[in-house]
């Protein structure tokens, strides 16, 4: 019985915190992918810079780097297009 009172008090506090968002019903529209795409864009930029560094260090031949760089830039542009469509 001595556990019941503190348990009820704690449960009430938790309920106030946890159930509050349910009172403001948000739209169930398609999820906004902006932050995911921003993260994907940053990762793609990183890849482009990595490839350039590898080339400058002599680890990639110029021919391989140019092909890879063009491919990665095309992928980055696709992400930018998708971002702008949001």
């Amino acid at each position: 019985m001595e556990v019941v009172l503190p348990a009820l008090a704690l449960a009430a506090l938790v309920a106030v915190l946890v159930l509050a968002p349910l009172r403001t019903r948000a739209a169930t529209a398609a999820p906004d992918r902006r932050d995911d795409l921003e993260a994907a864009k940053e990762a793609k930029y990183r890849e482009i810079k990595d490839a350039e560094l590898d080339f400058r260090m002599g680890k990639l031949s110029e021919e391989d780097w140019r092909a890879l760089d063009a491919e990665l830039r095309a992928q980055a542009i696709a992400i930018l297009r998708e971002l702008d469509r949001l």
């Binding site: 556990v3 938790v14 169930t28 906004d32 260090m57």
Partner: protein, 717 residues
């Protein structure tokens, strides 16, 4: 209302909250209702707050030595030093469970906060998985292992902390391991969310990669602390015994290492998707197994601090998690198909795959050796076990391959490499490795052990590869920017933290293996009995037993041991002279039948090793006093009224010092052993560098023509 009642209430409400988070997470995942997902996330935050409250209440009970708490009476006492009181919680099963779920709630809250605007389809399912794991641990505590259980008639004094655990490394070892285990729950939960929602790209990896790296770092740190404890506390002189519980912590670290590498292949190439989800499932299952094995008692272990009643429940939970996650992978196999193919065998992705296979092979060998007693008993009815020679014999050569791969990987680029660029990349590091090999053969006795010789050369290879990578990178940056060399180097590393942090980790691992190879191949050990004045010679050291010592309530390590019998030894090496003081601490038994004096010698005893650390070698000394000659004085002390016990113990101690019997000593000279922990430190430094957020995390929102915009944004990246 007592604090025990409040603690029990907090756990009960936490259990209800976790169940709500599971239900709300699933409902939000199915209906995509945003407000329900937010509510589920808040439930996880609330869970963390409740468990912080529970931790504080229990810690406070330990600090004030409240023996009405069964747990405090069981593993603390008024004379336990405060530091050990604060950390005694996790020496018990109930305290360990509370620590596990507390860490899980904190990690879960952190990842859900960081992804609150991202992964909107995956996150609710991940919330449900995280809360489900928390629910299991809370269920155990609420229904059978309550850390807030109280005693009807509290004792005046507690049992005290297990003496073996009174070591600083051992106090941080469990939280570090648990942080590792718990950390791997995060990518596991998001992987499950990704599978359920068919978002099997790299989004979930990008969101949880840092958590996997944090988990890997802490687990590795915990393992190293455990080995340091073994070396400096257990009195046998080794740092790794292939004990089942040690192995259980190493296995998820190995698969976690494989995961950290293979997710890069998915991020860069969209490949290895099935492999990555399978690896994180395996790692999470092994983490659960590691938690379970410590207290299961199903395998003989030095960690058998207390029998557990949780075996069946843990096995049921692990089985449900394994079967459901595996079925999910099978169900989503079409979504997990790779987007790309391997271009050539000479590529970084192929070497990452090889590295993964080698790590998994080591894991399989360890799993087989660890569970061999159970396997043999099931098949033949006789329990047989394999010892260190089995593990060392198989794993040592595989470890050489692993270190070689850790050198080759950084030299390769993604997709394809030409022979010309490879020749240029390998030339200097290979030359350094060969020169090292020749120099070791010519000037040292390293050739006496071929595996050690090869490991030393490979460590030089790794060091040369990484030094070359730093040099060539800084030179390339300097050419592009015209910056002075130190600026170019620091900006190169600062803007490529993941890459260069990873390289530093490779150096640390190579240094660590160098320490293992040196100490395991060339160590020298002597077990002798010495009278005061006698000398033993070990390698270049002359060790003379000068005199015995006794400390009453004044042990040198501050463990709170009431009695400490030791020795003073004069050590000479060439012109150098120093003194070492190993000791053996005695903790009283609660068994009153042993007598008021005898119980001080009939309880547990631990070695307080004295170590002379050195970069080239350690001198390690332990003493085992012969107490047989003290039987008479102890018996006489027992016959006295109990109020004279203090004087009787002083008399026994004086007898030992005045008429010292021979003492048994173990002396070990262990070359390069300190490099194991220095290598571990380098690994930690590299991991921290890789974890540090990059400047690219800044958000840029610019609109313009795409190619021009890309160029502009890249110039700032």
């Amino acid at each position: 209302m007592s604090s025990a009642d409040l603690g029990t209430a907090a756990l009960a409400v936490a259990f209800g909250t976790a169940l709500y988070a599971v239900a709300a997470g699933v409902y939000a995942g199915v209906t995509r209702r945003r407000e329900v997902a937010v509510s589920a996330r808040r439930a996880v935050y609330a869970l963390a707050v409740l468990l912080v409250l529970a931790m504080v209440l229990l810690e406070a009970a330990y600090v004030r030595s409240d023996f009405s708490f069964a747990l405090v009476a069981q593993n603390s006492s008024t004379d336990t030093p405060t530091f050990y009181k604060l950390t005694a919680m996790w020496s018990s099963q109930q305290g360990s469970l509370l620590l596990w779920v507390f860490l899980l709630s904190v990690f879960s809250s952190a990842v859900l906060f960081l992804t609150r605007h991202r992964l909107r389809e995956i996150a609710p399912w991940a919330t449900a998985v995280l809360a489900a794991v928390a629910s299991f641990f809370l269920y155990l505590m609420v229904f059978s292992e309550n850390p807030f259980a109280t005693l009807a008639s509290p004792p005046a004094e507690g049992n005290g902390l297990n003496p073996l655990l009174r070591h600083p490394a051992m106090m941080f070892h469990p939280p570090m391991l648990y942080t590792g285990y718990v950390g791997f729950t995060i990518p596991f939960a998001f992987a499950m969310g990704a599978l359920i929602t068919r978002n099997t790209g790299a989004d979930w990896i990008r969101a949880t990669r840092r958590f996997a790296l944090v988990a890997w770092t802490f687990l590795g740190f915990g393992i190293l602390l455990g080995s340091l404890w073994s070396y400096s506390e257990l009195g046998w002189g080794g740092y790794w015994a292939w004990d089942p519980v040690e192995n259980a912590s190493l296995m998820p670290w190995l698969t976690g290492t494989a995961f950290i590498h293979s997710i890069m292949v998915q991020e860069k190439r969209g490949m290895l998707r099935i492999w990555n989800v399978s690896l994180i499932i395996t790692t999470f299952m092994l983490a659960l197994l590691g938690t379970f094995l410590v207290r299961s008692g199903i395998l003989d272990s030095i960690h058998a601090f207390g029998a557990s009643t949780l075996g069946t429940k843990f096995l049921v939970f692990i089985s449900i998690a394994l079967v459901s996650s595996t079925l999910l992978v099978v169900w989503r196999r079409e979504d997990l198909r790779s987007q790309a193919r391997i271009d050539t065998l000479l590529s970084r992705e192929v070497f990452f795959l090889l590295n993964n296979l080698v790590l998994l092979l080591i894991c399989v060998v360890i799993f087989w050796g660890t569970f061999f007693p159970l396997i043999s008993e099931a098949l033949t009815g006789t329990e047989e076990s394999v010892g260190p020679p089995f593990f060392n014999g198989i794993i040592a050569p595989i470890a050489l391959v692993l270190v070689a791969l850790s050198a080759i990987g950084p030299l390769l680029t993604w997709r394809r490499n030409t022979w010309k660029t490879l020749r240029r990349a390998f030339l200097v590091p290979l030359a350094v490795a060969v020169v090292t090999l020749v120099a070791l053969l010519a000037f040292t006795s390293a050739g006496d052990s071929v595996p050690a010789l090869v490991m030393f050369s490979l460590a030089a290879f790794v060091g040369a590869v990484v030094a070359q990578e730093f040099f060539r990178g800084a030179r390339a940056r300097r050419t592009m920017t015209g910056e002075p060399p130190p600026i170019a180097l620091s900006r190169l590393v600062g803007r490529n933290r993941r890459r260069y942090g990873g390289y530093i980790v490779h150096v640390g691992i190579a240094v660590l293996f160098l320490g293992i190879a040196g100490s395991s191949s060339f160590n020298d050990q002597k077990d002798v009995r010495l009278e005061p004045g006698e000398t033993v010679k070990i390698k270049d050291y002359e060790v003379t037993y000068r005199e015995p010592t006794v400390a009453i309530e004044d042990d040198r390590s501050g463990t709170g041991a009431p009695l400490s019998f030791g020795a003073v030894l004069d050590v000479r090496k060439d012109d150098e002279h120093f003194v070492m003081r190993p000791a053996r601490n005695y903790y009283p038994s609660q068994e009153s039948a042993m007598g008021p004096v005898g119980r001080f010698f009939g309880g547990e005893a631990t070695s307080e090793v004295d170590l002379r650390w050195g970069l080239s070698q350690d001198l390690w000394l332990a003493v085992q006093p012969d107490l047989r000659k003290l039987k008479g004085p102890i018996r006489r002390g027992n016959d006295l009224p109990e109020r004279f016990a203090g004087e009787a113990i002083v008399a026994v101690a004086r007898h030992y010092v005045d008429d010292p019997p021979p003492a048994a000593f173990r002396a070990i000279v262990s070359p390069l052993v300190v490099w194991i922990w220095l290598g571990g430190g380098i690994v930690m430094a590299g991991a921290l560098l890789a974890l540090w957020p990059s400047p690219e995390a800044r958000r840029r929102r610019v609109t313009s023509l795409y190619a021009a915009r890309l160029g502009r944004e890249l110039s700032r990246a």
